[in-house]
Symmetry: C2
Subunit: 145 residues, 2 copies
Amino acid sequence: MYTIGQISEMFNIPISTLRYYDKEGLFPEMERRSGIRRFSEKEVEALRVIECLKASGLEIRDIKQFMKWCVEGPSTYSKRKDLFEKRKKAVEEEMKQLQKTMDMLKFKCWYYEKAIKDGNEDRLNQMLPDHLPKEIQKLYDSAHS
Amino acid sequence: MYTIGQISEMFNIPISTLRYYDKEGLFPEMERRSGIRRFSEKEVEALRVIECLKASGLEIRDIKQFMKWCVEGPSTYSKRKDLFEKRKKAVEEEMKQLQKTMDMLKFKCWYYEKAIKDGNEDRLNQMLPDHLPKEIQKLYDSAHS
DNA sequence: GTAATACCTAAACCTGACTTTAGGTCAAGT
DNA sequence: ACTTGACCTAAAGTCAGGTTTAGGTATTAC
């Protein structure tokens, strides 16, 4: 059993945020001893799931719904699995998007490196949009598609 | 030259958002004809960069700073390159984080698939935390590290 | 016994990124 | 001339996800 302060240190999450999560219903079964929250291993695992679902782009209210399902028992297994499958797809999309972002960033790094060498963008402007070095052209095309 | 309505369709961004970006200084050199905005190829490329920097996690005020540097000319090439290098690192971090998120999601999908088959979590609880099938154990460990 | 810590609540406040509202301009078509 | 549609502004409103504030309780250290 952990206090809110221990959990805060463990996860590097402000105490105020943990209380906010609790208020929003993300720990529906948390115990209390004379008013004080007692985080068990269950809440620790819940918090890992909260961080995962949040990182996947899910909103607090939907995480709360998931936590409710967990309390309801085996009848909600398939709803829970569905949720995770959907989050998986969302994260796959997000990663594709990030890869495009990455290509643009790499292109711009190359671009400015060359601009610094040349002292201006004249030669670069002549190469755009389709006379770039092969590997750079790939990045440019990916970022501009 | 494009109107705000054409750009809105082109990028699938609300007109109100484009006006907001302009008000925030993200198009410092945009022309006007009798009060009406005229987006040139320069602004189109700026918008691609805005979307990229936003996707990399940069705030509007910092994107504005970048756009100011662009107006200042060659003396800011290295500042601009630095910015893109930093964004690249931030996105690399973000991708690592997303990979961990993905591992947790895959683990949970496997978990609930098994829970559905079994009708309960008893066998699963016996396998946790280190008697999982080899590939699943990898996902679990990655997500819980 | 009293001081320092670590906990508690309710409610107000904050921030970033937009969006909506209310009222106005301007050019083209009928 | 007048209506329609696309543009304009300033200012207020919205929303998620917290954080801060103000006032209070409970346990341990001296």
